[in-house]
Amino acid sequence: MDFDVIVIGAGPGGYVTAIRASQLGLKTAIIERENLGGVCLNWGCIPTKALLKSGELYEQLDHLSDYGLAITGRSYDFTKVIERSRGVAKQLSSGVAFLMKKHKIEVIEGSAKLEKAAPAPKVVVALKAGGSRTLTAKHVILATGARARTIPAVGLVPDGERIWTYREAMVPKTAPKSMIVIGSGAIGIEFASFYRALGAEVTVIEALDRILPVEDEEVSKAAQKAFEKRGLKFRVAAKVSKLSKSKTGVSVALEAKGKAETLEAEVAIVAVGIDGNVEDMGLEALGLKIDRGHVVIDRHGVTNVPGLYAIGDVAGPPWLAHKASHEGVHCIEHIAGLKDSGLTAPIPGCTYANPQVASVGLTEAAAKAAGIEVKAGRFPFRVNGKAIAAGETEGFVKTVFDAKTGALIGAHMIGAEVTEMIQGFAIAMTLEATEEDLFETVFAHPTLSEAMHEASLDAYGRVLHI
């Protein structure tokens, strides 16, 4: 047996799993076919945040006069914006390399294939440097992540030139003047927000009847309003019938509310979801249970194949880095025989557009659909002292409580810094807080977070500052 554990894929799920494995005294190897850190560090979460920061600062320059400041003229160097984003990704990826070394985890660069064996499948790696290596371990963990979904039937396939996925959208040579974004989830909205900030004409197409469809309906509505104020255009309940290329750009034929329409732009971004990376690894031959492109697992990442586990994006939604890391830790602790914490921690989700959107737990509608009697509270930032002082009065905080038990079951926010505030509610929910605990918690003044306190009070008719 070469290793106790082999982790396939060094994204935020895989590399965190490997570190935890090493902490637990397991001899661990990690296999990566591309970059340490995976999509998150190299092509996702992190480099987009660098881009968005540039966009946000640039946008703010327009509002300096609101704060009594003056500047004349503004411009940007697109190449430098992209370079900065790449530099950030590179710095973090080498950070992961350091962490692997520190924890004595063997990093093997190449593509893995699995073969039937006991107690766990054998791992054959086609090495990046040439040749191959066959490895055995007691446990093999699939953390191969996911990639942008494509829909060839209607032309939703990237060509690398005019039709992009998140990947091409991260490194274009020049900033497009116009753009169509297909899909209004977090990825679509973030790119739309960034390119709009730099001045592009951007239209976002969403198949469902509202943007950011996983969010609470009130948040979706407020987000669309806020984005439209910034010049973004939307087509909701719109079905793309054909995306095609022309010499100068792309055209999208769509049907919205029974009306056919054709939109033109320089480029298009396809952001219609994610498919798990389950191909070309010999998983079919192992008889691994796969459902709609994702490996089927239990609470601990256990699959139906002995010795094989899966975590993160490849094991299904929500496709979030922190969900992958958390699942990975659960999985490896289960393998090491540690006790399950028993907690069912809700997974927060964040969209880093301007304004930001963050949520955790059930939406009001989802809670009602689950038959829960709900008490919901709201508090707008426009009456929050800190928000007024900072000139960030857009947005609100919404809380959802189980009326019978007082348990906080959902929280939804839109506004400045809400992606940093959501953790407060996530901790409360993980610790199974009730309304009383939130009432009793002392929130510092003046902070945006006070809106969290007020939204909790509001659910019980006790709001103070409205």
Partner: protein, 438 residues
């Protein structure tokens, strides 16, 4: 700093136990590994070993106390630096009086009589005689939501085992407990509707007090009562009976035992039944299954539990993967397990689990009986006496040694035809034991 010695969990499912015996008393010095007490759980008596070394400062739970919760403080060990000399107190300390009694202040127990006396050496006899001991280790940790759910359900948190971090009681624990435990504070009147059956006292049923002796329910008796009641009430069970001629089996057994005599191994009929069941279960795997709400668990191995009668109860130690074991090995294991079961020395993993049970009352001359299913197993085989009976062979009356066996099946997983298939696989294995090795 004294070190708390906690009530250990001797098995994953253990919630409470009886502190059967102390091997140490205050003032004794112990080192790691020393046996300090014996704990009786619902299934077995186990020894508790010291983890740290030091001097026993106080024994907080008297011998024979029942229902001691897991993780309750049962004794205290004097830690390092706690030596005989009390910590120096500065003469000019303004609160010198308070110094000797810091523990009394810290103890959250509100009852004055339960708090340790404010002397340097706390009195070893806590003043409780009833129910669960309330030591200062008894502070119940529970999430806010768990507290509220328990309150709404009228559940006593003290009776709930916490599965969260550091044993904290979380929502899931209350939900699990609500499914099982009776509410302690049932609103009067409303109880009758769906609650557990109301038991009348013997007096109410016309048996006067004093006309009988009352043996307290020990852990095993409570477990047998609970598990059998649950199983008989909740599992839709039915029996299937078949006669098996065992002359061939007895002859084979005599031969085998003659061969094994030099090794001092003796194979019993029951050992051969266990082996035959294991082989039959591999041939009819549908009978080696458990019903769960998520699906039917098809067990990989035939882990055969055998009922062993004890003085005041019974226990079912397990022959793991019996299909992979030879008769000699099974014989050695059953003898060892039965002996240790009678001494109450089995480890939890030796009697928990199991995919199928065998119960044999043949030695008492019982002709046939139908056992109650040992959940979550799908079936249990009840083995009667092997006796000479008239049989019809080739149209003529003849004499054969016949044994009647009854399979009780959990209909949720073992249907009639599956049970019958199992018995028809079992019968030839016992009538012609040579086929077991084919």
């Amino acid at each position: 700093m004294s070190i708390d010695i906690l009530m250990p969990a001797l098995s994953p499912t253990m919630e409470e136990g009886t502190l059967a015996k102390w091997h140490v008393k205050p003032g004794d010095t112990v080192k790691a590994g020393d046996v300090i007490a014996e704990i009786e759980t619902d299934k077995a008596t186990m020894e508790v070993e010291a983890v740290d070394e030091g001097e026993i400062e106080a024994v907080l739970v008297p011998e024979g106390t029942e229902g001691v919760k897991v993780n309750a403080v049962i004794a205290k060990l004097k830690g390092e630096g706690d030596g005989a000399a009390p910590p120096p107190v500065k003469a000019d300390a303004p609160k010198a009086e308070a110094a000797p009694a810091p523990k009394a202040e810290a103890a959250p127990a509100p009852k004055a009589e339960a708090a340790p006396a404010p002397a340097p050496a706390p009195a070893p006899q806590p003043a409780q005689t009833t129910a669960a001991p309330k030591t200062d280790g008894d502070r119940v940790f529970a999430s806010p939501l768990a507290r509220r759910l328990a309150q709404q359900a009228g559940l006593d948190l003290g009776g709930v085992t916490g599965s969260g971090p550091h044993g904290r009681i979380i929502k899931a624990d209350i939900e699990a407990a609500r499914g099982k435990a009776p509410a302690i504070a049932q609103p009067a009147g409303a109880a009758a509707a769906a609650g557990p059956r109301q038991v009348q006292s013997l007096e109410q049923q016309g048996i006067p007090a004093g006309s009988y002796d009352l043996i307290p329910l020990d852990g095993m008796r409570k477990t047998v009562a609970r598990r059998m009641t649950d199983s008989f009430r909740d599992v839709p069970h039915f029996p299937l009976t078949i006669d098996i001629e065992i002359d061939g089996l007895l002859a084979a057994r005599a031969k085998i035992n003659a061969l094994l005599e030099k090794d001092g191994v003796k194979v019993s009929v029951n050992d051969m039944v266990i082996k035959a069941c294991a082989v039959a279960l591999k041939r009819v795997p549908e009978a080696n299954a458990s019903y769960t709400p998520e699906g039917i668990a098809m067990h990989h191995h035939a882990d055969i539990a055998m009922a062993v009668a004890l003085d005041h109860g019974l226990i079912t130690p397990i022959i793991r993967a019996a299909e992979t074991k030879g008769l000699a090995q099974i014989a050695v294991e059953t003898k060892d397990l039965a002996a240790r079961a009678r001494d109450k020395k089995l480890k939890p993993e030796e009697f928990q689990g199991g995919t199928f049970s065998v119960s044999n009352l043949g030695m008492f001359g019982i002709k046939s009986f139908a056992s109650i299913i040992n959940e979550p197993q799908g079936a249990i085989l009840s083995v009667g006496v092997g006796e000479k009976r008239p049989v019809v062979k080739n149209g003529e009356l003849a004499i054969a040694t016949v044994m009647t066996v009854t399979l009780t099946c959990d209909h949720r997983v073992v249907d009639g035809s599956v049970g019958a298939k199992f018995l028809s696989a079992l019968k030839p294995l016992l009538e012609e034991p040579l086929t077991m090795i084919v």
